[in-house]
Every structure is written in structure tokens, then in C-alpha cells.
């Protein structure tokens, strides 16, 4: 059988982290009482007009720059029409003709094997980033045959990041999204927490034989975590391959990922292709951005967004942070990935290093194996760790000064984990785990052991 080449592209919607919505002044807040954060504009009251939120524009520019995109100095807004209960105006304001940023790239790393010992770097092209409105939420109550509509989310700013179909499997897709998530969180442009709906991923999947044109693609929605993303993509690839190999065809359809069953199923509401009747948004003039060169002399600072100004203030991106960690502390690249992947772990590590004489190269083992191991076992975050960085540093100091053995240290760590408030020193004394330093005492013990096991000693000498 000829090999199959899977092709995966992603459409990611990241909710912009801002105080108010994209085109209105109502607040952005997760899990507020239903319909408590809805302005007249959000409810589409007739006569209301959109007013662009500056912070949202800056967030999109930051993100575009971090993803190596060209920022369009002039971008446009359009209306995308369709009727749905959670879309009060009957259209979404988006950027279909000319989005705010285009032609970028995202580098991400994967482990070749499962042991995190060899990492390979891949790149996915970013087609574009566009600003658009989020819709409200609708909950279908089938028992009472009604739909409950909550417009709190309607109008919240979104950045849609479109990744070209450069990925080939679930693992790559997951790694790319994870890296994007880290970048967004570092920038602060989005909190990107998937569980809170701040990061939503739709996958476009198709398969084809090498040398042949791309196959028909399906769109997979309803993916609620990075883990499920990998599962959904891999399932869909497999499903398509099986379908084609048994002589079937792939429909250009939208499928939902069912996390319980671990499979994708066709979604009911998309009947045929929808014509969104795109039209320019007449109430918003083109969005003009400036850089140091194009900024007119007497322009009011408050009224303009300066791309160069934003560029200068970008924080260190994850890739830069990781490189710095590797260089500064002499740890391995794989280690730096794990450090950044866990919220707060880098900080913890650096705090320990500060307080201990132990070399970072050795500290990292304790962080990644012992600390992280325990955290994962108990499903805790770094913030929730019963062992603080100071306590661990104390422990490592004892080890470094050779006051205890490494086996003893592990025992102490287990005790510290109980979180009873004892210091490492107290535990050592309690459990009598001190390493003996007295030469004479050690000789006596050894002699006693040898004396007590004459036969074994003779066997060993022979």
C-alpha cells in the first residue's frame, strides 16, 4: 500500500486579554452572571456603533511581531453575515479582506523519542492574524425546547491565528499550539487558557499520497485541550486513511471531536456551504498603524499605535528565555522546555539556584524528577507545592555539604512533602539521617560488619 501523507492546518482563536471588549466598553470577565456584561452595542440595539479598542489592536500587533509577521499598516474591517442566537447583530465584525498581520512563522520543538533526550525544531507558517468579535454563548435546553442565550462573551476581542497546513500529526499540532500558548501568555496578549475558552483550536485535516494533490479536508471542532487536540487530529487522520483505503470518499465537512468516545463525528448544523455575504464594515474607517518613520510629527500619542514602540517593549519570548536558561545555567535544551512548560517552574528553579551552592546542572535533576514528579503524582501546580523553593534549597545544601547522602536526601524530600512545617535539618536530626563524618567511628562500624560475616568475607577475597 502506498504511504499516506497527512496534512494538518490549524485555526486558533485566542481571546484578547483586555479590560473591555473589541468595539464596546463593556467589561471582559470569565464566569460573570449571565447577561451582566452587555452594552447596548453588544446587544445590537439599533443605532449603536462600533468603537475600536486600542488595547486589542496593540495585543494583535504584539502577537504579530512575536510570530514574525508583517504588520499591515492599513487593515480593514468587514461584516460576516449569518443568523444565530448568539450573534445579536446577525453579522460578526472581522477582518476578511486585509487582516492586521500576515506571513509569519512559529518555531516549536518535539521530542524524537519519549525520553525527552532528543529534540527537533520545526516551523509552521502563520498565514495571518485577524481581529474579530467573539460571539455570545447559547445553551440548548432540549427538555424544555428552548435555547438560553448569554451575551457576556458577545463582542469580546479575538485574534484568529491561521497556521498553514505544515504539520503532519497530532503531536506536531499539539506542540505548535503549546508554543503559541506560551508566547501569548508571555506577551500578555491573551491568557490562552483552553479550559476557560480563551484559546480555541479548530483543525483542518486531510491525507494524500506523496506526489499527488492534497486530499479533501475536514474541519474538526470542539477540541477542549491540547491533549485532545493531538488525539482528535490523529483519530481523524486514521479515519480518513481507513475510509479511503476501503474505497470511500472524504466529505468536505465539519466534524466535532467527542472526547468521551475519542472520535470525530459529523456536525449537524452545517448544511452545504454558507455564503457569508461579506461586506466592508461601513462604520469603521481603515485601521492605520504607524512606525517611527511614518509617524507624523504633531500626532497625538493617544490616538496612534506605533508598531516600533511596541516592538521595543516586547518581552523575551519563550525561545529566547529557554536559550538564556541553557546558556546561563548550563542545563540541556530539553530541560529548558520542561521548565517553561510548567507554570511557575522556572521561577522555582531560579529561586532554588539562588539559595544553594549546588550547581544548577545538579539542581535541575531535583526540579524535573523529584519536584515535578511529586507534583504530577498529586495533580498539583507549582504554586500549590507544599515544598517551597527555600526548603528545597536548604535540603540541597545539606546534600552538597555532604551532611547527608543522596538516598537520605530523597527520604527527607518525601517527608517535606507531607508539609508538616519541619525544616530539612529537623527531619534529618529526627530520622538520624546524618552522614557520619567521624573516621574512627566509621572504621569501627566497618570492622564490626566484617567481623560478623567471616564466611562472606573469605568468599569475597577468594
Amino acid at each position: 500500500l502506498a504511504p499516506w501523507v497527512p496534512v494538518v492546518g490549524l485555526e486558533i482563536h485566542a481571546q484578547i486579554s483586555s479590560n473591555s471588549k473589541l468595539f464596546s466598553g463593556s467589561q471582559v470577565q470569565f464566569a460573570a452572571p449571565p447577561n451582566s456584561l452587555v452594552s447596548f452595542f453588544d446587544a445590537s440595539l439599533p443605532g449603536t456603533l462600533p468603537v475600536l479598542n486600542r488595547r486589542c489592536v496593540e495585543a494583535a500587533v504584539m502577537t504579530g511581531l512575536a510570530l514574525n509577521c508583517s504588520i499591515n499598516k492599513k487593515s480593514l474591517f468587514d461584516r460576516k453575515h449569518y443568523f444565530y442566537a448568539d450573534l445579536p447583530a446577525g453579522y460578526q465584525i472581522t477582518q476578511q479582506r486585509v487582516p492586521i498581520a500576515v506571513n509569519g512563522s512559529l518555531s516549536y520543538s518535539l521530542c524524537i523519542d519519549n525520553k525527552m533526550s532528543q529534540m527537533v525544531t520545526k516551523t509552521v507558517r502563520i498565514k495571518q492574524i485577524q481581529l474579530e468579535q467573539d460571539s455570545g454563548k447559547s445553551l440548548h435546553d432540549d427538555t424544555r425546547s428552548q435555547t438560553l442565550v448569554d451575551l457576556n462573551r458577545a463582542g469580546v476581542g479575538l485574534m484568529e491565528v491561521v497556521m498553514e497546513p505544515d504539520m503532519c500529526c497530532g503531536e506536531e499540532a499539539a506542540a505548535a499550539v503549546r508554543e503559541l500558548q506560551l508566547i501569548l501568555q508571555t506577551l500578555g496578549s491573551s491568557q490562552a487558557v483552553m479550559a476557560e475558552g480563551q484559546l480555541r483550536v479548530d483543525a483542518n485535516v486531510s491525507v494524500h499520497h506523496p506526489g499527488e494533490p492534497y486530499g479533501v479536508r475536514t474541519e474538526v471542532k470542539n477540541i477542549n485541550s491540547i491533549r485532545f487536540l493531538a488525539k482528535a487530529v490523529d483519530y481523524e487522520i486514521q479515519r480518513q486513511i481507513e475510509e479511503l483505503e476501503s474505497g470511500g470518499t472524504i466529505l468536505n465537512e465539519t466534524r466535532a471531536f467527542d472526547s468521551k468516545l475519542g472520535c470525530t463525528v459529523p456536525m449537524r448544523d452545517k448544511e452545504g456551504k454558507q455564503d457569508y455575504r461579506f461586506m466592508p464594515e461601513p462604520n469603521l474607517p481603515p485601521l492605520i498603524l504607524y512606525d517611527a518613520k511614518s509617524l507624523p510629527a504633531n500626532m497625538n500619542h493617544q490616538q496612534v499605535v506605533n508598531i516600533d514602540w511596541i516592538h521595543e517593549r516586547l518581552p523575551d519570548l519563550p525561545s529566547v528565555k529557554r536559550a538564556k536558561l541553557v546558556e546561563h545555567y548550563g542545563i540541556l535544551p530539553e530541560h529548558s522546555f520542561t521548565l517553561l512548560n510548567e507554570d511557575g517552574l522556572t521561577e522555582f528553579f531560579e529561586n532554588v539556584v539562588k539559595e544553594t551552592q549546588m550547581k544548577p546542572k545538579k539542581v535541575i535533576g531535583w526540579i524535573l524528577k523529584d519536584l515535578l514528579g511529586y507534583l504530577k503524582q498529586h495533580s498539583l501546580t507549582v504554586k500549590e507545592s507544599p515544598v517551597s523553593s527555600l526548603l528545597l534549597a536548604d535540603l540541597l545544601n545539606l546534600l552538597e555539604k555532604k551532611e547527608i547522602s543522596s538516598t537520605a536526601a530523597k527520604q527527607v524530600f518525601a517527608e517535606l512533602w507531607k508539609g508538616e512545617g519541619k525544616t530539612p535539618l529537623e527531619i534529618v536530626k529526627e530520622k538520624k539521617l546524618e552522614l557520619m563524618q567521624d573516621q574512627k567511628e566509621l572504621e569501627e562500624i566497618c570492622q564490626a560488619v566484617i567481623d560478623g560475616h567471616e564466611n562472606e568475607v573469605i568468599t569475597m577475597v577468594l
Binding site: L45, P46, R277, F278
Partner: protein, 517 residues
């Protein structure tokens, strides 16, 4: 003049308000008002009176009764757009222009009648019925049958106001208010102004905030001002113009209200006469009047030249495409879910939408929505919408070229004829009528230019005929200055209405205008 009267204490705001309210009741047969806000108006008048007594009026508009077209949001007062879709809808906010008038102390008498959602040129297609032109009942109108009383059934020959801001035009014309707000998308303020013998000003697009004006065509709509004289229009303009952060299409430049100079020397003026405005169907009467007006300027020393706006004849078809496309989009929000009419049909959300929209909109609105959606379909978008945008650019460029060549102001007719009787008007459908009637006014909306109707003379039938001046972008001062000069020259007669005379205590009869002159 009435403003001066208020300041001097010759009349009080409450008296003024009560007179207007009473006159509204007496002219109910005109059907100019949809909602009369009697209680709130009287309260506002009382507040105004307190200020005058303290000697601290807010400005020229303090205590002046005004009316507002029913497509502007007014907090606490029903806003219907003359449609079933919004019948009973009480908006929680004031349109910016309404707020500005109230902040100046104006007294809001009520909301005026219009064509449903401002679609029409007769003010005949709203759910509250047609508006009657007050001139139908004037002693000057020569075709009315002998009236026995004010009963509407007797006069079957009453004429339309034009539209779509017919209610506002009729309200100003019949002295029930001193100024009114209309809207203008294709001529909806200037057209009824011409038919009702009042001043109708369409400001430059972007000068006055549209926040709170329920949109017809977002890229062409402007709030319109209807008054009895040009000076009044300037006063109202002064209180309304300026940047509104809530409307991103308003210009940022600082606007300075102006007082109109009394122009005496027009020798430096260049008046353009666009030949394409000699449109098919233009009555010989109006043609003659137009010519006479041109001569008036020439004889006074102004330079009067013929100019060409070659793409004028495409403006109607271009307007149809762009207008219907925007209408289809703007009306998408009326789904019965958040506000307005909701059908009882509840088998599914879709069926509820369909029933709601069928019940809520009249044929005119639905027709435009269907056309608009057609033009916006992916396969049609380039051929219709984009093409129309390109033609729009050409139309706008025509004006730019002409103004660049040294012309200050253009002089054209406003309408093809004087007001037709209602019975005749309804013989053709809304779309046909709009196509015919918008021809002289529409291009100014395409180009976003300011334009004003100035009542000029009475037709042979004794009905008002107006002429239109079109000015350069944001040059309202120049435009109104020329309009004021012209107004002074033509001395348009005051309407002679029996019912007004009965109410009059000297306030209305002698004082035509609201402002200080």
C-alpha cells in the same frame, strides 16, 4: 426671533410649549407625529422657564420646541421607525444629536412620522399611515375641494409631503415646532423640505454624529435639519456638529459654530449649473424657476457657469445596489430575540426568525433586504457591490473636479415637480417612486457633500417649490451664506393655514423663525 422673545420674557417656554402641543392636537389630521411626549415636554419647558427667570438660559435653543424623526433613539420615548418591528420599542439611550438638543435646553415635543425605516420618498409607507402636506390645507393651494371641516375624508386631494422625513417637514411647516430633525440618505430631508416649503439641510457626511440614528445606509446617512429659515438651520447645525467618540465616522477636527454673515456682494461668487440635473421628467415650471434663480445670481454680479457632472445618471442604479446591500446587512439584527417584535411562532429558532421578519417588516423593507442579499452573494459581489463602489468614486470625483475648477456652490432643482396628490402618488410602487424622486438629491449623498433646499416660490397649483444648493465638503458656512442670500431675494410666502391663525397670539404669525436675527 422667538428666542429673543423668550429672553425678553414676552413669551415663556411653557406657554410656547403648550401652544405647540395644542396646535399639534388641532393638526392631528396631518398625521405628522407618531408620538407626542406631552408630559416630558412640559417638564422640559418648566425647567427652561426656571433658567430664563434666573437669567441663565443655556443658549439660543433653550425652551425652543423641536420634533425628532422617529428613527432617532430617544430614551424613554417610543422609537418605532414606523415599523411593526419596533412598535412599542423604548430605547434606553438618546441619540447623540437628541442629547445635544436636550443639553441646549430644547423642548422635545415628540417623534415624527416617516416611511418605514426611512425607505421611501413620500412618507406614505409607514405603519401609522401617510403624512399629509400642510399646504394641502393652505389657502394658497388651488386644487383642494371646499372644506366643510378639518375632517380628513373630505379632502381627497391632499398632497404628499415627500419623504422620508415627511413628518418632520410637516411639523415645521405647520408651526407645531420651530425645528425638526430628519435624516437624509438619498434626499430624505431635502425632498420633503421642498414639498413643504421649509429649509432642509443635509450636512457633510462625518460632520454630525450618527450615533443613535437607526441606520439605513451607514455610508450615506446623515442627520438632517429642517427649519423655517436658513439662519435657524445654522443655529441648529452649530449645536449638533462636531466629533463624537461614539461615532468613528465623524471627523476629528474641531468644529466652530458660526453666525451667518449677511451677504450683500455676490460678485466673487461662482455658481455652477450642472447640466445633467435637467433630468427627464423635470417639470417646465421648475425648469423655469431654476433658470430664473440662475439669472438672479447673474444679475447680482455673480459668475454663473454651466458645469458637467457626467456620472449623475448612474447614481440611482448605483444607489440601489449599495443601499439594498447595506439594508440587508443592517436589518439582520432584527431577529426578534433581543428587542422589538417577536413572532409567536416557536417551532424552531429559524421559523421564529422568518415569521418575525415577515410580520415585522413591510414589503418595501423586505424587498430591499432580498435585493441586497442577492448583490452580496459571493458570486455577485464583484459585479454589483464592488462595481457600484467604483461608480460611486466616479460620481464623487465629478464634484471634486467641478469644485476644483473654481465653482463655489452648485444650484439645482430639488424635486422634479411640486407635491403630487396622494391618490396619484400611490399609483406607482415605492421603488419606482424612489427611483424617480431621488434623482436630483441622491448624488450629494454619494459624494458626502452638504446640500440644502431653500423654498423658492409657489407653483401654479399653489404648492411650494424649492431649489437646491450643493456645497463643498465641510464648507457649510459658505453654503448657508449663499442660501441665506437667496432666501432673502426670493421672499418665499408664508403658509396661510386657518388652524394656525386660530391658535396664533402673535407668536407664529409674525415670527417665522426661532433664532435671533
Amino acid at each position: 426671533q422667538v428666542s429673543a422673545a423668550l429672553r425678553e420674557g414676552r413669551v415663556t417656554p411653557t406657554e410656547l410649549c403648550q401652544k405647540c402641543l395644542s396646535l399639534i392636537k388641532s393638526t392631528k389630521f396631518l398625521n405628522a407625529y407618531i408620538t407626542v411626549a406631552e408630559e416630558t415636554a412640559l417638564k422640559q419647558a418648566e425647567e427652561s422657564e426656571k433658567r430664563y427667570r434666573r437669567g441663565q438660559p443655556l443658549g439660543v435653543l433653550d425652551g425652543i420646541p423641536v420634533a425628532v424623526k422617529d428613527n432617532f433613539n430617544t430614551a424613554g420615548i417610543e422609537t418605532t421607525c414606523a415599523s411593526n418591528m419596533l412598535k412599542g420599542y423604548i430605547s434606553p439611550y438618546n441619540a447623540t444629536v437628541v442629547q445635544k438638543l436636550l443639553d441646549q435646553g430644547a423642548v422635545l415635543l415628540g417623534k415624527t412620522n416617516l416611511d418605514e425605516f426611512a425607505m421611501g420618498s413620500g412618507s406614505t409607507d409607514g405603519i401609522f399611515g401617510p403624512v399629509r402636506n400642510p399646504w394641502s390645507y393652505s389657502s394658497q393651494y388651488k386644487e383642494k375641494s371646499v372644506p366643510k371641516s378639518h375632517s380628513e375624508d373630505k379632502e381627497s386631494n391632499w398632497v404628499i409631503t415627500g419623504g422620508s422625513s415627511g413628518g418632520s417637514a410637516a411639523a415645521v411647516s405647520s408651526f407645531t415646532c420651530f425645528a425638526a430633525l430628519g435624516s437624509d440618505t438619498g434626499g430624505s430631508t431635502r425632498n420633503p423640505a421642498a414639498h413643504c416649503g421649509v429649509v432642509g439641510l443635509k450636512p457633510t457626511y462625518g460632520l454630525i454624529s450618527r450615533h443613535g440614528l437607526i441606520p439605513l445606509v451607514n455610508s450615506m446617512d446623515v442627520p438632517g435639519i429642517l427649519t423655517r429659515c436658513v439662519d435657524d438651520a445654522a443655529v441648529v447645525l452649530g449645536s449638533l456638529a462636531g466629533h463624537d467618540p461614539k461615532d468613528s465616522t465623524t471627523i476629528q477636527d474641531n468644529f466652530k459654530p458660526f453666525e451667518l454673515p449677511n451677504l450683500t456682494d455676490v460678485s466673487k461668487l461662482s455658481i455652477g449649473i450642472p447640466k445633467e440635473y435637467h433630468a427627464p421628467g423635470l417639470s417646465s415650471e421648475i425648469l423655469a424657476l431654476w433658470s430664473k434663480a440662475a439669472d438672479l445670481f447673474k444679475n447680482a454680479g455673480a459668475k454663473v457657469i454651466e458645469v458637467s457632472l457626467p456620472h449623475t445618471r448612474y447614481s440611482i442604479v448605483c444607489y440601489h445596489v449599495l443601499c439594498t446591500a447595506e439594508v440587508a446587512s443592517n436589518m439582520a439584527r432584527f431577529d426578534g430575540l433581543e428587542y422589538g417584535h417577536r413572532s409567536d411562532m416557536n417551532e424552531s429558532t429559524e421559523s421564529m426568525y422568518a415569521a418575525t421578519r415577515r410580520e415585522g417588516f413591510n414589503d418595501v423593507v423586505r424587498g430591499r433586504i432580498l435585493s441586497g442579499n442577492y448583490f452580496l452573494l459571493k458570486q455577485n459581489y464583484e459585479d454589483y457591490f464592488v462595481k457600484a463602489q467604483k461608480v460611486r468614486r466616479l460620481i464623487a470625483s465629478d464634484f471634486v473636479k467641478v469644485f476644483r475648477s473654481g465653482v463655489d456652490v452648485l444650484l439645482t432643482p430639488t424635486t422634479l415637480s411640486d407635491a403630487v396628490p396622494y391618490m396619484e402618488f400611490i399609483k406607482e410602487d415605492n421603488r419606482t417612486r424612489s427611483t424617480q424622486d431621488d434623482i436630483l438629491t441622491q448624488a450629494a449623498n454619494m459624494a458626502g457633500l452638504p446640500a440644502i433646499n431653500v423654498p423658492t416660490a409657489l407653483s401654479e397649483r399653489g404648492l411650494p417649490v424649492g431649489l437646491q444648493f450643493i456645497g463643498r465638503s465641510f464648507q457649510e458656512k459658505q453654503l448657508l451664506t449663499v442660501a441665506k442670500w437667496f432666501e432673502k431675494q426670493v421672499k418665499f410666502p408664508m403658509i396661510q393655514l386657518e388652524v394656525v391663525k386660530k391658535h396664533d397670539h402673535g407668536v407664529f404669525q409674525h415670527q417665522k423663525s426661532a433664532s435671533v436675527s
